[in-house]
Subunit: 305 residues, 2 copies
């Protein structure tokens, strides 16, 4: 099935205890579409960049089969730029610099050829922009998934709650789930958030895995314990991209299949953190993905006689 | 198979956001033996209390089939007392008062009738005391499991490392694993700690579950997401008690069986936190335990076609 991803394509500059980068390709939609390229053929992107965005980076996306017809290039504009410094434990980071640039005026335009998309991934942007995408699609996709962040819970709470009425699946981290619901218990928080609209909820817990909620069903997906976490940038987007792209590939929205999808998402995220930025996600083989899925199976399978 | 548990039997006084208790029965060995009572018949306790320890509390243990022949009562002595206050997130607590009392002079005496024990659980006390137990057993048990804490890693590091050469399994939390190994990565930390002696290592992550390591095998056991955590006191001991008692009951030390054992440990711990102290662990039925195990199966099982 076809996947449409709307979100940021950006420059990142990252420093971790292991080293630092120059400007590299980043942004939620970059990680999501690159990850999705291992699962779906119709991999459509809507995003905005400035005139400073090099063709070589667009080539990276296109070489992975990402349809960039919806990638708007603003003449004279500058691309969204983020620079971050990770601390020693790799669980916390400081944003050193954020230049919204063309993202500040992002008005997502949906090419006619994207209108039949069945799976929609709204990467983290303002809920108002995310809602605009929904209203601009002639037909509601079969499955709408949304990512958000603490910023929008704080400054655009009404917009976010209005949006949530129209989405099938929300993905947020544990801290954000507690903020959005006002409840410390993740199990109660999940009930509160699902009552806002999404029938399916994913609560990401970073190195502690993720919880998948749907009605009274809960599934716990572990994160692979890694010897080295090199750069966590984009891991959450890669996770979401793997999840929705697996669903789009299999076109099966049963809870059993969502469990498989979240394991694929977690597996893809475990690759992402092994190198800077999207480098590892750009260079995967099907065998590597299958082997990693096998590691998850080994990690989490048990047999209660 | 017979189980021997050595550790503290104590008074606890607990305050949580949900309420507070008077002096109630606590201590690592209390939680371990009460939990083990659902799995093994030969459930032997070595501990020390003061003359102030009421017979009614000893009756609680004995009514669960705990053999208290090794429970020393020091005449004129006072029982170990701990008082703690849990914060709103239930993940952190302050110790308000700790009176070592008779635990300060604890010299574990092993009754002759315990000498044939096959499974040994050394609850959290000083590594020097734990080592004394090992030297006082005529034959080495088939399986020796040790719990410890940050205090001993700090002030008795040499004793602890000497002890670890003689144990089969160590259980510690993630923060302690990082302290003991000097490594932030739990996967590398596990390798370092297993090289100190224990072939099997359990790293507890509280509400985030637990990791079981053995050679190159890793198993991730989730914690059940609960609506309410009422009192976390004793959850780690209950977890360890469920783990070793399941192993003792089944007498199977394969990695596959250890996976089952850790799920039983996690299930028992999920009961423990539902009420103050050991109240919930004192009042369980086999059906309740089976149902809870079923919840774990639902929570963590998946099928990768």
């Amino acid at each position: 099935m076809s996947l449409l991803t709307v979100g940021s394509v950006a420059f990142d500059k990252i420093e971790t205890p292991f080293g630092k980068t120059d400007k590299i390709i980043g942004g939620a939609a970059t990680f999501i579409t690159l990850t999705a390229s291992y699962f779906v053929k119709e991999n459509n992107l809507v995003a905005v960049v400035g005139e400073d965005f090099p063709q070589s980076m667009i080539d990276v996306l296109e070489s992975h089969g990402v349809n960039t017809e919806g990638l708007e290039i603003v003449k004279g504009g500058k691309t969204f730029f983020w620079s971050g410094l990770y601390h020693n434990d790799m669980n916390s980071r400081d944003s050193l610099e954020t230049q919204l640039n063309v993202m500040g005026e992002f008005d997502p335009k949906i090419p006619e050829s994207y209108q039949d998309c069945q799976y929609l991934m709204l990467g983290n942007t303002s809920p108002e922009i995310q809602m605009r995408v929904l209203t601009r699609l002639h037909n509601r996709p079969k499955f709408v998934m949304v990512d958000t962040m603490n910023l929008w819970i704080n400054i655009a709470n009404g917009d976010l709650k209005a949006l949530l009425k129209h989405v099938d699946c929300l993905t947020i981290n544990d801290e954000e789930a507690r903020m959005l619901s006002g409840d410390y218990s993740l199990r109660r928080a999940a009930k509160t958030i699902m009552a806002m609209g999404p029938k399916t909820l994913i609560i990401k817990k970073g190195e502690h895995g993720a919880l998948l909620f749907q009605e009274d069903n809960i599934f716990f997906c572990p994160a692979l314990p890694l010897e080295e976490v090199f750069d966590p940038t984009g891991a959450g987007d890669t996770f979401a991209g793997g999840f929705i792209a697996y669903l789009a590939q299999t076109d099966d929205l049963s809870f059993e299949n969502m469990k498989r999808a979240i394991i694929y998402g977690s597996a893809m995220a475990s690759f992402c953190v092994e190198k800077f930025g999207s480098e590892r996600i750009q260079n995967l083989t099907p065998d590597e993905i299958n082997d990693r899925i096998g590691e998850f199976k080994k990690l989490a399978s048990f047999n209660l006689q």
